[in-house]
Amino acid sequence: MRVQIIVRLKSGVLDVQGKAVERAIESLDLLEVSSVRVGKVIELEVPGETLSAVEGELEKICSQLLSNPIIEDYEIRKA
C-alpha cells in the first residue's frame, strides 16, 4: 500500500516560505489567495492494504523522524 505523509508547520508557527510564495502568487495577478502554507509530502510503500494495521508504527516514524513535534504537524493518508 502506498502511504502519503504530509508534514506542515503548526498553525501558530510563522511560515516564511508560505509568505514568500503568497507574495509571488499575488504578482501573477490571478486569483486572490491568502494564508499560504508550504509543507512536505513524503510517500512510502508499506506492507498490507489497511492503514489501521500500520498506523501505530507510522505514527512513531512521523513523530520521531519525519516531523519535529515542536514546530510541525503531520497527517497520514492512503496515497
Partner: protein, 228 residues
C-alpha cells in the same frame, strides 16, 4: 582535557574546532565519525560542529539523530557530560530533544553570512563559565535556519530557568528582538543560544570558533576564544 568532535557527512566546521582545541588550547582532541558507536577514551567534552549534516535533507539536523554516535552522545550527556553544539550542531541537539526549541528558516528567507554581536546572558553553561554576564562577543553567523522558536509556555520556563545563554545584540550590547539588524534571523526574544535544564549541554547558532584568531576574528571586539 579530552575533547571529541563529532563528524557527520556534510559537517564542515570540524577542523576549525580541532585547530582551536589542539593548536590554541593544547587539549587532546579526536574526531569521531557518525557511524562510530563509541566516543572512545574518557572525554570531558563533546562538540557537535557546524555544517550541513546529511545535506539538511528533511530538516536541518533531522537525519543525524539516527546516527549511531548520537546514542553515545545522549548517554554521555545524560551522565552529565559537557556537550556543545554550534550552528548545525545546535540544530541537531534541538531536533533530537537534548536542547529545547527548534530552528526555523530565517525571517528574511535568506541565507545569512555576516558578523553579529552576541551578549552572554548567563555564565552557568559549559561555554560561559567565568565570563561576566553582559560580555559582548563578535563572531560570524552562516545559516539559513537560525530563527529560534519555542512554544510560548516553554519560552516562559526557559527564561525563568535562566537557560538563555546568548542573545543577539547591537555592538554596544543592546538587545532588541524586533531589530533585524542586530537580530537578523528573527529569533524569538533574540535568542542565539540556550542550555538544557541540567546546564551541561549548550548550543548556539553563531560561530565563535571562527573568531578565535586575529587574522579572521572581528577587529576591536571580544573574540570567540573565551567561550572555549
Amino acid at each position: 582535557m579530552e575533547v571529541r568532535v563529532v563528524v557527520f557527512p556534510g559537517t564542515n566546521c570540524d577542523q576549525d574546532v580541532v585547530h582551536l582545541y589542539r593548536k590554541l588550547k593544547r587539549f587532546s582532541v579526536e574526531t569521531v565519525w557518525h557511524r562510530d558507536s563509541e566516543l572512545g577514551g574518557s572525554p570531558d567534552l563533546v562538540i557537535i560542529p557546524g555544517g550541513f549534516s546529511y545535506g539538511d535533507y528533511l530538516r536541518a539536523g533531522a537525519l543525524s539523530r539516527v546516527s549511531p554516535i548520537m546514542g553515545e552522545v545522549k548517554r554521555f550527556a545524560e551522565k552529565g557530560g559537557r556537550v556543545i553544539g554550534i550552528c548545525n550542531g545546535f540544530q541537531i541537539l534541538c531536533d533530537c530533544g537534548l536542547l529545547p526549541g527548534a530552528l526555523l528558516q530565517n525571517i528574511g528567507m535568506r541565507f545569512l553570512s555576516r558578523f553579529v554581536s552576541v551578549r552572554v546572558e548567563s555564565n552557568l553553561s559549559p561555554m560561559t563559565e567565568g565570563i561576566e554576564v553582559g560580555t559582548v562577543i563578535r563572531c560570524p553567523i552562516a545559516h539559513f535556519e537560525g530563527n529560534y522558536f519555542i512554544a510560548p509556555e516553554d519560552l516562559e520556563s526557559l527564561e525563568e530557568n535562566n537557560q538563555v545563554i546568548f542573545r543577539y545584540c547591537s555592538p554596544e550590547g543592546t538587545v532588541n528582538a524586533a531589530d533585524l539588524d542586530s537580530n537578523p534571523n528573527g529569533s524569538i526574544n533574540a535568542i542565539a543560544g540556550v542550555c538544557n535544564k541540567n546546564r551541561n549541554i549548550v548550543g548556539l547558532m553563531p560561530h565563535p570558533e571562527r573568531s578565535v584568531e586575529k587574522l579572521v576574528g572581528a577587529e576591536g571586539a571580544e573574540s570567540g576564544f573565551k567561550l572555549f
